[in-house]
Subunit: 399 residues, 4 copies
C-alpha cells in the first residue's frame, strides 16, 4: 500500500461518502440474530426506515444490493407473462427493463431522451388505451442516477388514477430516498425501492421494499417463483424484530445510525441542503460554459449533476486526469453517454467545503485535460454558497 | 445502554465471533466500485476464495445471505418442474427442500433421523432406479448446522458416479467451509454453497457459489427465471474484478482479511484446531453424562456440538439461564429439537481459553438450571487440551 | 503478521483488557482543543472523574503515565530536602521511594515484607516521634500491584490524625481506583494518584491527581521546580474545560466512555464483581495447593492474585508455557519475587467466563510445565461462581 | 448529539487531521508492555522515528504532550541556575522561556518581532561575548506555530561554532518535523523536540527528544531534579524495545503507522507537498489583498499561514463565522496577535481538494463577516495548483 495524503473524494453518485459514525457503528461484534438484543435492533430499524420512506406500511430489508430490491418488487407482485409499463428515463430504467425480460414479464418501454423525467401524460394515455387492464404494473424511476433527472411521481399517480386503471405503481427511488423528498403513502406508491449506499450514507449491501396494502394483496396472487425475496416470510418474522434468514447484522447497526443521523438533521433540512449543493454545482457548470444534461429546471437532480463535455473531448479521460491528480472519483457516463458526460455526486454526508473542493477538482481537471471552458465555476459556487450560508446572521459577530 | 462487563460469548454455530482484524478492515470508507482500486480488491477476493473452496473453477460472490446462494445454485442450473433428490440431514436440508417447492421444482426428500449424515448408498440406489435421468440434481448438506453432523460428500460423488447418473451435485457447506475440510474439485462438487458468517469469521451479508464447468454448462440450458442470481453476468464482470451491480464493498474488505487470516494460519491447522475443540467439547458432554446428538463418530461436527437435555428439562430454559447469568449465547434446538437440545458453537476465531470459558458457562448453567448432570466436564476438557497443547515441547522451559 | 486464532487473554494486572466501546470511542478524529466542542468534553471528564474518585475537590488529568502522576503529587506539594514517610508494600512503593531521591527529597522507608499492607500503627508511631513536624508527607500505596495486597487507607488517616501530625497523605491508588472502593474525601486523602490502564479500562497514557484543599494550599508554598506538572495552570484552564497544553484528546474520548460505563454498571456493582472474581481465583489457587502471596484475608486484592510457585520451579517458565500454548499474558514476579511468583489480573472489563478461561489456562500451564499441583482449581472456581451467579433467580425458568 | 453533515475541517496548525489508517491502527486491544510482541513494536518505532528525525542517535518517546518534551530537554541537560539563551520567535518561544523560570534556570531572551525567524547573527554575537561560557544552552524554535515562520537552524549551528562556544543547541521542531525538512545530525542539533499531533498526523499524547552524544554527556552532569523525564532509564530500557514505565501503547500503534505512511510517501515528497500547499495559500491571501504575517519569503512556513485582518475587524469573529457556517476550525491569533490574526493549518494528511475547500471557507467567511477583501483567492490557488499538479503528464490522456 502506498500512502496517498488526504482523504479520497468519492464524488460518484453513490456509494456516497460513508460518515465515520456509521463506519464505527458497524465496527462492533456481530450479535445472535435470534436473541433479545437483536429483536430490539430489528424493531428499531424496521420502524425507523418507515419514517424515511414516509409510510405507515411495512418496509422489508434485504441483505442485497438495490438490484435485488428491483427483483423483489417484481417477483412478489406479478405472474409470468404479465405486462408492465416502463419509462426510459436513463440507464437504470433500461436495466430494470432488461430485468423484466429475464424474469419472464412482458414490458412496454416508453422511449425517452435521457434528458427529461417521466412523461406522466404518456403513461396516462397508454393506460387509457388498456381497457382490458392487461398492464399489471407501472414501473418508473423516481431519480435517475445515470442522468441526474428527477421524475414527478405524484403526477404518475394522478395519471394512473385519471385513467381509472388498477395497475400497481412500482418506483425505484434508489438514489432519491434520503436526499430528495419522497412520499410513499401520499403519492400512492405501491412498492418503493431503495438501497443503502446513496442517501442513507451507508456501504452497499442492504436494499428495501416499502409495500402498500394493495401490493401486499397482489403478492398473495402473484405466481412468479420466489423464495429469498418472498415478502410473506419476511413480514411474518419482522413482526417480532427478526428475519427469516441471517440478516446482515453489522449493516443493520449502520442503518440504525444512518436513520438516527437523518432524523437528527431533520429530513427537510437534508433535502434543503441537497438542493443548495445542487444549485451551486449548476452555477459552476454554467460558469464553465458547459452543459448540464438535465433540461427541465424542475427536474434537476439534487443528488448529482451530469455534465456534457464538448464534442471531441473525452469525459473518461477527464475523469482519469482528475483521479490521477486530485484523488477524486467522479461518475462515468453510462451507455449512450459513455465518454460524453461525467457525473458529479453531491449527496449524502457532505458539506459546503467538500463541495467546493469537489468543484475545484473539476475545474482544475478541465484545465489540465485541455477541455475548453471558462474559469470561474468555483467562484460562482462560492458566491452562491456564501450568500445562502446557513448562519449568515452570525455576520454581526465579526463586524 | 447498560454496560455489561466483559465480552459476550457468541457461541451459536454462526455467526461466529468476528475477529477485530476483520471488523477493522471493514471500518474503512467505501470506494468506487467501478474504479481501479476496486478491481484489485475484486480480483484479490475472487482469486483468494478459490483457495478456500479448493477449486480452480470460478466462485461468484453475492451480496446476500446463504439462503440466497441456495437459490442461486438452483435457479442457475434447473428448469421449472425439474426433479431433484435431497436428503433430510436436519433443519437446513429441510429448509432447502422447502425452497425447491417455492421455485417450482419437484423434490424427492430421502428421510433421515437428524442424527446421521447423508446415506450415500440410498442416494446411489435412487439414482440407479432413475434410468430416464429425470433427476437433474442431487442436493445435500455437507455440514448440517442444526444437528452438528457432517456428511461424506466424496461418498455421495462416488455413489452418483457408480450409478452412471448425470445429475449435478449441489452441496451446502455453509457451516463447513473454512472450519472443516471441503474439496470442491476433488470431490466433484458441481455447485458448492457457503456464506460469510461461519468459518469465514465475518458478519453475515455475503454468500458464494463455486461453479464446476458442468454446472456452468447446465446454466446455459436452465430456464428458471433469474436476474440477480444470474451467473453469466457475474462471471463476465468478475473477469476484470468488477461486479454487475453494487457489491457489498465493505464486506469484501472483510473477506479479503478473512482469506488472509485463514491462509496465514494454514487450512490444515485451521481444521486441526476445530477438530481438537470438538473432541474437547464432546469429552465435556460425556463427563456431564449428557448425550451428543450426532451418533457416528466419523460424522461428528468439528464446528458445533448439539447436546440433548434429559427428558423433563428445557433446553431453552437452560440457554436463558446461561444468557442471563453468563452473557453467553448458545444455539437453540431447531424444529423437532426445539427445547430438547442446545448447540455449542466452537468455530471460527476461537481458542482454548475461550472454549473452556464456554464449557464452564454450560456447566454452571446446568447447575443453576437444575439439569441433572455430573460435574467434571470442564475438567475433562482441560485434561484433553493440556495433553494436546500445541507447544507442549515448551514444557522443558519451566522444568 | 501471522494470524493466531481467538482473542489474546491479557491477564496482567494492567493494562487491563480495553473494551471495544472505549476503543471505538477513541477511534474518532481529533478535535480542536481550543474549540467549544472540546470544552464540553473537558468539563464532562473533569466532572465525571470526580465521581470515580469520590471527591468534591478538583482532579487534574495529565497526558502521562501513572509514574508522572506520582511525580506530580510530590513536586506540587514539597520542597527540596523535605522529609517524607513511605511504606514498603512492594515494588511500586519501592519505585516511588526511588523517585523521591531523584527529586531531592529525604524519604524514610518503613520496611515491609511484601505480604502485608501498610501498618498504620508504625506510621502513627513514627509521626508521634516527629514532634518537629519535619515529615511533610506520608506516601502510601493503596493497592500494591506487585503483590496483590490492599492497604487500609482510612486507618492511615486515623493514625496521622491520632498523632496530631500535619503531614499530607499522598496515596497511589493506581491499580485500585475503579476496581476496589476508594474514598478520597471520606478518607482524608490529600493527593490521590491513578492512571488510565487499570480499573478505568483504558490504554495507558492518562494519569490523575485528586487534590485536597490542604494539598492545594501546600502547592502554593512548595518550591520543587515544576512546569508540566504544575497544578496551578491546570486548574486555571480546567475551570473552562480546557488544558494549558495539548491534552491527549483521543484518550479523553475513551475516558468519557469509561466513566459512563462504570457509572452505568454502578460503582458498588463494579466492586462486588471484582471481589467475586478474586474469591473465585483464590479458591482455585488453594485447590491447586499453591500459595497466595497476600497473607491477611482483609487485605487480599480484588484486582489481581499473586501466586507463589513451589521452590525449584520457575514462575517465568510457567508464564512462558502459558503464553506459548494458550496466548495468555500473566504478570511477572517483580524484584525479589522474580521467577518466584506470577500474578493473575482479574480486573476491568471482565466476566465469569473469561475468568474461568483464565484459570483454566493457568491450570493447563501448571500441568504442561510440570509444576506440582492438584487438579480441581477451575472446578472450585466454577462451583463458587455458579453458587454466587448474579441471576440465580432465573433458575426457575429452566426447572 | 446532533448530526452535522460532512467532515469537520480541522485546519488549525495541529492537531492536524488524523488519517483513518492511524485511527484504525490505534483501535486495537492494548498488549502486555513487558511481552515479546511489545518489544517488536518498541524497536520498530524507536528505530523508525530516527529516520524521521534524520539522526543516528537515540530518540526517546514520552507518554506526554510536547510541553513535556521541552521540559525533558532542559532537565536532562542543565543544572539549577544555569544560563540559557533563547530567541523570541513567537508565543511558543515565549512559553518555553516561561518554563525556564519555573525550572530555576536563568534565561536570556533575545527580543523578536514575531515576523522573522531566529537571527543567528544575534545569537553568535551574544555567544562571542560569553567568554566565560556561562551560557549552557541555546534554545530556539525551528518552526514557530504561533506565527508561521521557519528559522534556519543550520545557521544557528554555524553561529555557535563560529563563536567557538560549547553551548548545547536545543531545538523545538514541534510543528516542523514531518512537514518541513529537519536534519538533526547534519545541523548539529543536540536535543530536537517534537510531538505527535502535527506532521506525524497523530492525536496528541506522545512527545520526543532526539539526543546527541554531547547532550547525553551533559545529562550525566546535569543536576536538575528529574525522574519521569530521565533519559538514562529510558535509554536503558529502550535498548530492548521496552520502557521504564507504562508506555502509551495504543498511541505507539498509531506512531508505527504514521512512520510507515511518511516513508511510503517519501520525506522529500512530503516536504514538497507542504511547500506547494503553502505557496497556494499565500497566493490566495495575496489575491484577497490581505497580509501574511511572515515577512521573509525564505522563512515562510509550509505548515501554516498566519493572516492579519485589517484594522477594525475581528479575527476571532471571522473564525467564529467560519466555524458556525462551514464547520471549519482555524487557529486563533495568540498573545499579541489575539483577534488580529488567524492561522490556516495546511499540514499533515491533506490534499489539494481539501486545501481548496479550506481556502473557500476562508473566502466565504471573509464575505459573510464583512472583512474587506478582494474575491479571487481561491481562483489564484486553483490556478497555481492546476499548473503544478503532480501528474500533469496525464494531460494527454484526455486530449
Amino acid at each position: 500500500m502506498t500512502y496517498k495524503s488526504g482523504r479520497h473524494f468519492l464524488q460518484i453518485p453513490g456509494p456516497s461518502n460513508v460518515p465515520d459514525r456509521i463506519l464505527r457503528a458497524m465496527d462492533r461484534p456481530t450479535i445472535d440474530h435470534r436473541g433479545p438484543e437483536f429483536a430490539e435492533l430489528g424493531k428499531s430499524v424496521l420502524s425507523g426506515i418507515k419514517q424515511i420512506f414516509k409510510t405507515d406500511n411495512p418496509v422489508v430489508i434485504y441483505p442485497a444490493s438495490g438490484t435485488g430490491a428491483w427483483e423483489a418488487a417484481l417477483v412478489n407482485t406479478l405472474c409470468s407473462g404479465d405486462r408492465v409499463l416502463m419509462y426510459e428515463t436513463g440507464q437504470f430504467a433500461t436495466l430494470w427493463h432488461g430485468m423484466t425480460k429475464k424474469l419472464g414479464l412482458e414490458a412496454e418501454f416508453i422511449a425517452g431522451d435521457w434528458r427529461h423525467g417521466v412523461d406522466a401524460g404518456a403513461i396516462g394515455r397508454r393506460l387509457a388505451e388498456d381497457s382490458a387492464h392487461e398492464i399489471k404494473a407501472v414501473c418508473v424511476v423516481h431519480h435517475e442516477t445515470s442522468t441526474g433527472v428527477t421524475s414527478d411521481i405524484a403526477s404518475v399517480r394522478r395519471a394512473i388514477d385519471a385513467a381509472g386503471h388498477p395497475a400497481l405503481l412500482l418506483v425505484d427511488t434508489i438514489s432519491g430516498l434520503g436526499s430528495v423528498d419522497f412520499r410513499t403513502d401520499e403519492w400512492g406508491v405501491d412498492v418503493a425501492i431503495t438501497c443503502s449506499q446513496k442517501g442513507l450514507m451507508m456501504p452497499p449491501g442492504l436494499s428495501f421494499n416499502a409495500i402498500s396494502p394493495k401490493a401486499l394483496e397482489a403478492s398473495r396472487r402473484a405466481t412468479l417463483p420466489r423464495s429469498y425475496w418472498g415478502w410473506d416470510e419476511m413480514l411474518q418474522h419482522n413482526a417480532n424484530g427478526y428475519f427469516p434468514y441471517s440478516p446482515a447484522t453489522n449493516l443493520l447497526y449502520g442503518l440504525k445510525e444512518a436513520i438516527a443521523m437523518l432524523l437528527e438533521e431533520g429530513l427537510d433540512n437534508v433535502f434543503a441542503r441537497h438542493a443548495r449543493f445542487s444549485e451551486a454545482t449548476r452555477r459552476a457548470v454554467r460558469a464553465w460554459g458547459l452543459e448540464v444534461l438535465s433540461l427541465v429546471p424542475s427536474e434537476h437532480s439534487n443528488v448529482l449533476t451530469t455534465v456534457l463535455v464538448p464534442e471531441g473531448h473525452s469525459a473518461d479521460g477527464l475523469r482519469q486526469v482528475i483521479l490521477d491528480n486530485f484523488d477524486m472519483s467522479l461518475g462515468t457516463g453510462l451507455n449512450k453517454l459513455q465518454d460524453r458526460a461525467f457525473r458529479i455526486g453531491h449527496l449524502g454526508d457532505f458539506n459546503d467545503l467538500s463541495l467546493l473542493g469537489t468543484l475545484a477538482g473539476v475545474e482544475m481537471g478541465l484545465a489540465i485535460a485541455g477541455v475548453p471552458h471558462s474559469k470561474g465555476g468555483v467562484q460562482a459556487a462560492i458566491d452562491y454558497l456564501a450568500e445562502t450560508a446557513p448562519q449568515t446572521q452570525s455576520r454581526d459577530k465579526a463586524a
